[in-house]
Amino acid sequence: MNIDIKVKNLKKTYTGKVPTYALRDISFEIKKGEFIAIMGKSGSGKSTLLHQLGLLDTPTGGELLIDDVNVLKLNDREKTLFRLQRLGYVFQEYALILELTALENVLLPAFALNGSHQSYRKRAADMLDKVGLTDRVDHRPNELSGGEQQRVAIARALINNPKILFADEPTANLDTNSSREILELFKKLNKEMGQTIILVTHEPDDRKYVDRVLWIKDGLLEKEEKIS
């Protein structure tokens, strides 16, 4: 199969006094090695969609196949293992563990997956080298700039060779230069490693880095835009 993600009629409704229909019957497919941007106005449902795709939240209805696995049928424990083995995340606010160094943050998912951190130190160091942080391996998050922290988060997301990398507005808190560096890094990873990347962004300029844009409006897939 050449498909990494298959979404069919995906729904997410937040119950309350007045139900909020965050996602309404969204359907699309993402191929292996694609660099996708999910775009839309604030409150359109783009982050909600990413959270459902990344198994950080549970949809109200619909179907979701990732790497040919019907992930909505997995229990919590299986979802956790699935995330660890096959998915990688980069969050808006860096989301590093403050007590760990850059190297330890990067190797943590590998350690959790394989039970040994010594044998993954070299790989973690290589990942940090790949994101341009060779000389920052022993620094803790509070000793790194926002851009550097985000690059550590990217290295961490890639340590277990994930099938898909999810990035939720990863440049929202960064200055222009750092934002450009991060997006170029994503592009490089996509080109050189064939990494499937799904990026949520509200910056129209970010379209130039991706292969395709999924435009979300009011919880609906408004249109798909192929970037040449």
């Binding site: 956790t80 660890l84 590093l96 330890e104 350690f111 997301a157």
Partner: protein, 410 residues
């Protein structure tokens, strides 16, 4: 599971080593105080009961008291005490025996030699000055003058609460401060009157004992008109306190008509004090444990609430809930273990030595800490159990929380 434990240990270890040192120090400090509180309150109350026990055994009734026959007829004296004491001494483990002659007298003392007497009624015990120190310790608590010596005719040693002038709670009913070598008049219950020379004043710091006066057996027998080897009571000292029951049985076989009692049964008032303190100790221990457990729970809870976002991140990147929970339990064990270590240092290096050199003066004697090994072990296990629960509950709650709510605090 081993893999999970390794990751949990790694996360816990890093959280401690690279965490906020001030918060870690504060948590350990608070837990060490909780541990000290747990041990201290029980130890001080143990100290009260231990002092009561020691006073009774060492300065009053020894381990076993043999009183005269009560049934079928009530007798005033034990007969053939020489033979009986010899038989009792032959029981292995019996250290010594002494006879006592119990009297009651009205004391009259003219302190200022102006005909203005002060009066009071107190017990008088006839003792053998040679034998008595082997069984009771009053001779080692003479605070003025000397202890009785053979033959000691017309000599008396007064308890400090009788003598007065030594700051007792019963000062107002005392003789107002006697002088060694002066004379004192005693009118005994049987009508006998004697004038004694005050040889000494004893003070064991236990009101019940410090209200006794001591004369020699020769004097006592003459007052009571006893010419043979009868006595009011026999005290028996054994070499291992706690084994009284077996000796009571053996003595009862030797003298089935006599009343043989352990020291614990001898005064019901002290029994009720001891029982009350045991109850209070139990209640305070339980309260102390709840306080310690609550303290740990609040500390760990606040810690996990502060790390809620990090717990969410860990879950998001695929770290199992078990690993997160175990890492927090390990952290709370770390705080508890170091709390116990520092609490023990505070307790055994500072608090206990201080109370040993500066005991609390109460009407039953000087109270120091009586730290029991089993209660320390119980305290350690209690604190570790509290740490386990206090680490488990908030970590479990945080780990079960929705990932997005944990990360973004929704």
């Amino acid at each position: 599971m081993t893999k999970d434990l390794r990751v949990a240990f790694f996360l816990g270890y890093k959280s401690i080593v690279n965490g906020n040192k001030s918060i870690i120090a504060l948590m350990i400090f608070i837990l060490s105080l909780a541990f000290v509180n747990l041990i201290f309150t029980t130890s001080i109350l143990n100290g009260v009961t231990a002092t009561l026990d020691n006073q009774l055994i060492n300065n009053s009734v020894a381990n076993i008291v043999i009183d005269p026959q009560e049934y079928p007829t009530r007798e005033n004296y034990i007969i053939n005490t020489t033979k009986l004491r010899q038989q009792i001494k032959n029981i292995p483990g019996v250290t010594a025996t002494v006879v006592h002659y119990n009297l009651m007298a009205t004391f009259a003392y003219d302190k200022d030699k102006n005909g203005q007497f002060k009066y009071g009624s107190w017990p008088v015990i006839g003792i053998d000055p040679e034998d008595e120190p082997i069984v009771t310790g009053v001779s080692t608590h003479i605070i003025a003058g000397n202890y009785l010596k053979d033959p000691g005719i017309a000599d008396i040693v007064l308890g400090s609460d009788i003598a007065g002038g030594y700051g007792a709670a019963t000062e107002t009913t005392s003789l107002g401060g006697v002088k060694i070598g002066e004379k004192i008049n005693l009118n005994f219950g049987n009508g006998a009157q004697r004038v004694y020379t005050i040889r000494g004043v004893s003070k064991v710091k236990f009101t019940l004992i410090d209200q006794n006066a001591y004369i020699t057996t020769k004097d006592a027998k003459s007052i009571l008109g006893i010419s043979d080897d009868r006595a009011s009571e026999i005290l028996v000292k054994i070499n291992k306190t706690g084994d009284e029951d077996q000796y009571v049985k053996q003595i009862k076989k030797l003298a089935p008509d006599l009343k043989v009692r352990k020291w614990t049964e001898y005064t019901s008032m002290l029994d009720s004090i001891t029982n009350s303190f045991d109850l209070v100790t139990g209640i305070i221990s339980a309260v102390g444990l709840v306080v310690a457990a609550t303290t740990i729970f609040i500390l760990i809870y606040v810690n996990t609430v502060n790390k809620r976002r990090q717990i969410g991140i860990l879950k998001a990147i695929g770290i199992k809930e078990n690993i997160i929970i175990i890492s927090y339990i390990l952290q709370s064990f770390f705080y508890a273990i170091f709390g116990i270590i520092f609490g023990s240092i505070i307790m055994f290096c500072f608090v206990a030595p201080h109370f040993l050199s500066h005991p609390i003066a109460l009407a039953i004697g000087d109270i120091s800490l009586a730290i029991k090994e089993n209660q320390v072990i119980q305290g350690i296990f209690s604190l570790l159990t509290a740490a386990l629960i206090a680490g488990l509950v908030p970590a479990w709650r945080a780990a079960k929380e929705n990932i997005l709510e944990a990360i973004w605090g929704a």
